[in-house]
């Protein structure tokens, strides 16, 4: 009985772990980090009243958002107005389905064969993530359109144009990584990087990918969709309470999943260092276990923690950039996307493919 239930329990455990960590842990902590780092950069103190170092501020804000009166502004197009926040959260939640967070493991001998620490092993791999993130534009577009507010519509139009433009550049950067690794599967991609991280041969792809993901997540310097100075806050101007909270949650969830993908594609995932794997370290320390977790469960936990550390570094980069760089003008944004990033990405694919064919 237990043997039959075990794979299902494992799957359920992975799903609960992911959702618990991302929606219950990362999002609230990231909001706190965002506010603390912004305070640090602007030479302020930041939230410091609720809990130690203001750590419980997000909890207090969350309770406030849930308990707030559900306002419904006049003239909104009702079903779409309520549908939009849901459509914003669904892609954010779906994007975690294919992200592996550690090497394949038997969980200390619980399983006969090593199991992947990934909710679902799809054949399409990283393409699924692109597909799902391309759907996240509907939440924004609908929110703006149904709000009956010109600022919201402007924000939504800007957001959809921006997301379509930069998706192309991001997709082409991913193609370079697929070329380099020879696979679309994220676990195999990490394994292919054991001797050399993709950031070295794929540096230009990363150079295209990084601005593209900043634009995809609608964050500064590309937050034209919600630029406070011009559009109040753009597409979610008319949203309050938990409906606004869902947009907020979706933003941080997408940020986390995209950071994870960036680490997996360019920075070796859970690999320790280029050319020096965890197994080498364990062998050097004479610990007698391997990353596959066949002998010790710590061999699984340590690489996973290392992976999470890398993702956190990326999340910090998101916050750091947001509070450092000013916003682009709209025509600048479009010309960067179409005239700089796209040709660079295409050129990069051509050169990478040619070099790989020659060498």
């Amino acid at each position: 009985m237990f043997e039959v239930l075990l794979p299902w329990l494992f799957l359920l455990g992975k799903i609960l772990l992911f959702f618990g960590i991302v929606f219950g842990g990362v999002a609230p902590v990231m909001i706190w980090v965002e506010r603390k780092v912004s305070a640090l950069i602007q030479d302020r103190v930041g939230p410091n009243r609720v809990g130690p170092f203001g750590l419980l501020q997000s909890l207090a804000d969350g309770i406030k958002l849930v308990l707030k009166e559900p306002l419904e502004p006049e003239g909104v197009v009702k079903p779409y107005y309520y549908l939009a926040p849901i459509l914003a959260v669904i892609p954010a939640a779906l994007s975690f389905a294919i992200i592996p967070f550690g090497p394949a493991t038997t969980l200390g001998g619980l399983f006969e064969t090593p199991q992947r620490l990934q909710i679902s092993n799809l054949n399409a791999g990283v393409l699924f993530l692109l597909a799902v993130s391309s759907l996240s534009v509907y939440g924004v577009a609908l929110a703006g359109w149904s709000s009956n507010n010109k600022f919201s519509v402007m924000g939504a139009l800007r957001a959809s144009a921006q997301m379509i433009s930069y998706e192309l550049a991001a997709g082409l950067a991913v193609v370079t990584v697929i070329l380099l690794s020879g696979t679309v599967d994220l676990v195999s991609m990490v394994e292919a990087q054991s001797s050399m991280w993709n950031i070295v041969p794929g540096f230009f792809a990363f150079l295209v990918f990084l601005p593209a993901i900043f634009a995809e997540t609608n964050r500064l310097p590309f937050d034209l969709a919600e630029s406070e100075a011009e559009l109040v806050v753009g597409y979610h101007t008319e949203y309050s309470g938990i409906k606004f909270g869902l947009f907020f949650l979706a933003e941080y969830a997408i940020m986390t999943s995209i950071s994870a993908v960036c680490v997996l594609m360019f920075f070796g995932g859970w690999e320790l260092w280029p050319g020096f794997s965890w197994n080498d370290l364990y062998a050097a320390l004479n610990l007698g276990w391997t990353t596959e977790g066949t002998t010790n469960i710590l061999g699984t936990i340590i690489p996973s923690v290392w992976f999470v550390t890398k993702v956190c570094a990326f999340l910090f980069l998101f916050v750091w950039v947001r509070w450092t760089l000013p916003r682009f003008r709209y025509d600048q944004l479009m010309s960067i996307g179409w005239k700089r990033l796209l040709p660079l990405a295409i050129l990069n694919i051509t050169i990478t493919a040619a070099l790989m064919a020659l060498v």
């Binding site: 779409y80 799809l122 054949n123 399409a124 791999g125 393409l127 699924f128 692109l130 597909a131 799902v132 391309s134 759907l135 534009v137 509907y138 577009a141 609908l142 703006g144 359109w145 519509v153 939504a156 139009l157 959809s160 144009a161 997301m163 379509i164 998706e167 679309v184």
Partner: protein, 184 residues
């Protein structure tokens, strides 16, 4: 009837219903949203066939890019049903024509499908890899590479033509204006 068939019929029914909603909802934005649901159902059908890659591409290209463009245009124009002329009655001749055409298409499919299905056992040989990215790419870039390239060139030509039309548009407008002046 096994589980797969049950899922197939549910998906098929959903496809037909959402397709009908796309055609008959009064507001264009509703049609566009039902179209997304329709595409997701189609993609689920591909998953049922084991073609995960095609399913993902279906969502990525159609639901993620093309319908976004549709909604974009709908939001920009913001038409109401009166302006779309949906209130006008449809003449019975066009109803007969359309249903006749659809009937002929269904008849053709009914006749042709058994013939087409005869080719399927050949695909079953590589059942383990069928629908994966590798086998898909092999067929796509070896067997059908010319059709693929021709389709690409066609699309490129379409883009160029649209660019040309858009480029000549200001002239056309001024021509129209001068024409109006002449009339007045």
């Amino acid at each position: 009837m096994n589980l797969q068939e049950v899922v197939f019929y549910i998906l098929g029914a959903l496809l037909l219903i959402t397709g009908g909603l796309v055609a008959f909802r009064p507001k264009p934005i509703e049609s566009a949203l039902w179209l997304i649901v329709n595409f997701i159902c189609t993609s689920a059908l591909y998953v049922l066939l084991g073609a995960h890659f095609v399913a993902v591409i279906q969502i990525l290209v159609y639901a993620g890019a093309i319908v976004v463009l549709f909604t974009f245009v709908i939001m920009l124009l913001n038409l109401n049903p009166q302006e779309l002329g949906l209130t006008a009655a449809v003449p019975w001749t066009s109803i007969v024509l359309i249903s006749g055409t659809i009937g002929v298409i269904f008849l053709c499919l009914h006749v042709a499908t058994p013939e087409l299905l005869k080719d399927l056992p050949a695909l079953a040989e590589n059942a383990g890899t069928w629908g994966t990215l590798e086998s898909f790419s092999k067929v796509f870039l070896v067997k059908y590479v010319w059709s693929f390239e021709i389709a690409g060139v066609l699309l490129l030509m379409a883009v160029l033509v649209v660019g040309l039309l858009a480029h000549h548009h200001p002239k056309a407008v001024t021509a129209g204006k001068s024409l109006e002046k002449d009339i007045s």
